[in-house]
Symmetry: C2
Subunit: 463 residues, 2 copies
């Protein structure tokens, strides 16, 4: 391979792959650095860091996701994602952290050295906070500042904060004042795309497809980073954004919907006793949506219909609730000898699957499952339609809504397959909630860092 | 015009317009029959009816919507639509009624003669029942049978029932047994399209566009019935069906969503005190969705954002509920000196528009408005995307969900304009809930009835 292959490609502005690099093996969680990849000069990195704090290159050689490690105990203030990314070849000081402050959650990414004497390198850590408890997030960064000072002897001001998401603006003054450091704000969509490109092209075992038979079928790293375009990113946080990505740094928000995670969490907090996301998802796992949803079979009676939809197809989400509630109210008004009892018996005669339980009571589990289906199906259909309109074959789902939850992924995957008749594929990520935070973290980089140059570093907006 | 113009067009299968017919005037609610239109031979119709009950032609010459008549008192069992359609030139006996039994509502259409001695012709009546009270609907038809017998002297068996919608199958045995008559089942989608084509091409002042400046801007009758194709019908009942119509009897279900009227009614019956649709819509009119929805401005702080969306744009429907509920719970746990109070003060400092009221209480009005916006916006976006994919310039919204409610129409119209950047237009109908019932009613017709042949009559499936 000629030395010129490391120069930027004039057509794409992208640099070629480093000399001597070979295509990555499909799956490599061994952590053993690939001997054929070039190593970065460690001493110069450290010197760079001291003279220009925060501008160090992250060495992603041999990066892998840490599986099978003991789970960090969950704090009341935050949730530490157990899937750190080990960077066994990164030895330089990292003097920045990155936070993506969304409508519901603030996601923090930071680098830490390996605590064991024998281990080299370090790892990326992933933590999320509820945005309304932004103070806990700021406190956490303050602790990182102190650690940074202790470990590296530099002044704590030198741990700078990269921030993105709407909260980067809303909480800018507060964060800057509380931490006494520079807060560098980065464009939200740009960070999402940089983060996603990084995960797709650099991290083995990060991207996967979902099916019931094979819930986590990892997608090999692409032979060329440029081969991943064009694609659609569907980022599901409180709301949903759909971003068309045509190439590195070429993106456009083409759609979205307000029916996202915030809708699910908000309605379920009103309708069920669940007080956090995990409890809501656990409820949904145990639920049966057919007690609240009106299915095609409920409308047509047993099986028969001419509109080509299965009898288990959901015709109307929560479509049974109104009539059952009305019937229960009528029963309460009439006593048990009134209109309702009469009606109920007749419903059974007509072969309806309705009213298997007390009509006035709806199970939280069933409500949770119905709403999870409704929101996921809806996102899937809209994503498909936008992908179709813009001719995008690959659809990546990111954002904290998914949370590795199998029902959610199943519904999204199913919706994409159903609507596209199998022509489009849904992809998921193990760090789906951290695209923006990782993108902001990586923006603090000189040009052409790392193995595969999956993004251009460069200009920072420190507005 | 040559006589051959009444023959079916070989390319479309459509019959030409009746000889001597002129294009209809744009707006004509005078009820004065157009003298240039052909009259039907009344006596032969009556003879036909006697020998072949139920096969009479409906004479739609001079048909118009009855405005300004006293509203029929609403029964507990049903709701009588005040907008009858007067058929001043129809004199023959009509010996059929039609019912469209959906997941939530059963819609009935029947013909009645003018009670006054001086008035000629009759009118189409429109009544809806809740599907769960199907017995009330059957009782009503039984009364029509008795009236029919009394007026026409025929045996009550002769008033046959045309039925469509899922309930035509589910309640087939029940209806047939209870009424002792033939129940002729018709395809649901076909009836919707026949009904819609009839309203678009035959009834002046039926179709309109909505804007805040001009809430009901009537669309003139088309110069040629064939000029209305292709179009998209978005039928919003309990669930939503989207049907592409390429020509008379050429249609295909291309999409739909389970987030429809049933979702709104079901969730609002759980979340608010409202016990019927009208109360829910009244609540929505008085609501302020910004107390429960997370707006773009809430995420970005005051005004500023780079994603090109207005600060009042809804980022997440119900996106404020979860965090406010959590905050209220925390307050209850901590007392007023705890974490929450602290946080609340800081929120104000950061310029948030949140928490203007007690966080643990959400107003029913605000919830109703938020959900109405969410469902309507969502349907609007999906309708636009399907119309775009299939290159359909006109989008007609039908179904009982709309119910002539201005906020719903405003949201749907706005969504179509927003997403299509003004290239597509939303159309509404004054009898939007009765498309299927009218279609079933009209199917009981010989070929080439009426003025403009907006449908082919013909084969009946009496499965």
């Amino acid at each position: 391979m000629s030395p010129s292959s490391t120069q930027p490609d004039p057509t794409t502005g992208e640099a070629g792959r480093a000399a001597g690099a070979t295509p990555a093996p499909a799956v490599d969680i061994s952590g053993v650095p690939d001997a054929t990849r070039p190593r970065r000069p460690v001493l110069s990195d450290i010197n760079d860091t001291i003279s220009h704090p925060g501008t160090v290159r992250i060495n992603v050689q041999g990066a892998f996701i840490v599986d099978d490690e003991p789970v960090t105990p969950r704090s009341e203030d935050y949730e530490h994602d157990p899937r750190d990314i080990r960077l066994p070849n990164h030895t330089a000081v990292v003097s920045h952290v990155a936070v993506d402050i969304g409508g519901s959650l603030a996601k923090l990414v930071y680098f830490s050295r390996e605590p064991d004497e024998g281990s080299i390198g370090g790892r990326l850590n992933f933590i999320k906070f509820e945005t309304e408890r932004i103070d806990a997030c700021i406190d956490f960064v303050r602790k990182l500042q102190a650690d940074h000072q202790q470990l590296n002897g530099s002044a704590p001001e030198e741990l700078c904060v990269m921030a993105t998401g709407g909260g980067a603006f809303k909480y800018y003054d507060k964060t800057k004042k509380a931490l006494g450091v520079e807060v560098i704000r980065e464009d939200e969509m740009e960070c999402l795309i940089i983060g996603l490109d990084f995960f797709i092209t650099e991290i083995p075992n990060e991207v996967f497809t979902y099916s019931e038979e094979c819930p986590m079928d990892f997608v090999p790293l692409p032979p060329q980073p440029s081969s991943i375009y064009p694609y659609l990113l569907v980022n599901i946080g409180s709301g949903v954004s759909m971003i068309k990505v045509s190439g590195p740094r070429q993106y456009e928000r083409i759609g979205g919907t307000s029916l996202g995670g915030g809708t699910l969490w908000g309605l379920l907090s009103l309708l069920t006793g669940a007080r956090n996301f995990e409890d809501m998802l656990k409820l949904a796992e145990k639920g049966d949506n057919s007690t609240v949803d009106l299915l095609v079979g409920d409308i047509y009676g047993t099986g028969y219909n001419k509109i080509g939809l299965k009898s288990t197809h959901i015709a109307s989400s929560f479509g049974k609730v109104y009539k059952m509630k009305r019937a229960a109210e009528r029963e309460a008004e009439d006593g048990c000898n009134g209109d309702f009892k009469n009606h109920s018996e007749e419903e059974e005669v007509a072969g309806s699957s309705e009213l298997p339980h007390t009509p006035s009571k709806f199970r939280s589990e069933d409500i949770a499952r119905s709403l999870l289906y409704a929101v996921s199906n809806n996102i899937g259909q809209i994503a498909y339609l936008h992908a179709e309109k813009h001719n995008l074959p690959h659809i990546y789902f990111g954002g904290s809504f998914i949370g590795g939850h199998s029902q959610t992924m199943h519904t999204l995957s199913y919706a994409i397959r159903f609507w596209s008749k199998g022509t489009k594929q849904a992809y998921f990520l193990r760090h789906e909630g951290y695209l923006g935070a990782v993108g902001a973290f990586l923006k603090r980089q000189p040009r052409n860092w790392g193995r595969r140059n999956s993004f251009e570093g460069g200009k920072r907006s420190s507005v």
